[in-house]
Amino acid sequence: MKKLLISKKTKGILGAIAFPIVFIAFWQLFILAGFPSARFLPSPYKVLQKFVILFSDPTYSHNIAVSLQRVMIGFFIGTLAGFIFGLLMGLSKTAEKIFAPFFHAVRQVPMIGWIPLIIMLFGMNELPRVLIISVAAFYPITLNTFSGVRNVPREYLELASVYGYKGLTLIRKIIIPAALPSIATGISLGLAMSWSVLMVAEIFIQTAFGIGTQIQRGRDRFDIALVIAGIITVGVLGYSMTLLVQKIVKAVERGQVISADK
């Protein structure tokens, strides 16, 4: 009977809070137990203290701003290029036959593999960092735009030819709206990839500011609390960005359904 007293919603909230609390409790217990391997592990409280210090430190917010800016520029370039390239390959079978094999071959090289070459060619500055982030976004967006454009239902195209849509009108009114869900998937995948590669870019291509730099610096100073604070920051920022994009994607899809109903 007691079970009925707790509504489903509170149960959900309790479940969501329970996990972090248990996790932090275990962490603290692990340290209190005094295992030799825990010697270097800072307690949750120390990490919290580190966060308090960081929040009043302008470098921290600057690091976040620089990282976000870096990701946004790279992601924007990669998205734009991937969209155009995917659209081109999706619209023209010849373009697909010319570019797709090369694209798939180059795609096999893990992002991290490009780092030494890119450093040698461009040096350790902002350009290679942004470049590698945009390439990371480029692959999934190209692939998803391509498959979205290719899978536009035949009936839509027939309808378009009835209306006499051609060229740009056809692309703008039929193909892009129909391919939108797939493109949106590509965009959220691309953003996740960009964020992940940002770490690679900031840790491997040394830089003065950025969250990756902060983590790296924590390691240099053997300040594990700083490293953990950096990792948590990266996780939280990445997760909020994913959530934001998912919200936007859902809104776009809903808008599309409504306009299709009209």
């Binding site: 094999p101 893990p110 593999g113 840790i203 053997f222």
Partner: protein
Amino acid sequence: MAKRFLQRLGLKDKLLAIIVPLLVLAAWQGAVSQKLCSELILTPPLTLLNTLLELAQSGDLTLNILASLKRVMIGFLLGGTSGFVIGILMALSPFLNRIFGPLIKALQQVPEFAWMPLIIMFLGIDEFAKYFFVAIGAFYPMVLNTYQGVSGVPEKYHELARVFDYKSFRYLFKVIIPSALPSIITGIRLSLGLSWMFVVGAELFGSDSGVGYLMTWGRAVFQIDLVMAGLILVGVIGFAMNFLLERAEKQFLLWREPVDGRPA
């Protein structure tokens, strides 16, 4: 008639496919031989081929490839196996799902490379740290796909298992795993691909052997042909691994289809 037409079409596709690579190669060789770009910055393709051959002859190539593959295999076995076991446990037990689910979701938000500094601080920069890093990469796709596959086992299979009174091991090996196999194979493919990426990353951080080491070494002594040779190796080996596993995946799907196709 139709066959010949198709053949011609296939040949035409192949011709179209090599246009871009040929153009890139020609521009690349041209840029160097026309002195638009120094050979120190951009190795001409022919020199690159020569470097690869030299590496193969001296035995450095096989040595480094084997070193990387060994790390991939050990890391993949560590991460993949734990992902497999945890994935099955999570799918079969709602309780464990509630424990591991949020933990994995939270940890997954952190880009894997951000763990690298922490791993180095705790485990040092020796072989075990590399295995561990590769294992992290292998873990996520394996746990997610196994979980998905096992929780997607149709209810009728569970019912049938109950009818036959299959318990524990028999239930696991005769019902759950065969039914989830396609998803598990996808997990293996993805996780091996990421393992390969992560081993290169781990080697770039600091190592004395491996394909990633070849590239860092090339960068350190400013021998760009070594860096490019390493890049090609990384791509080709990654491609080969993916290709083989995709084949295996298709084989397993083929095997599965008639089972699903049969009337229930």
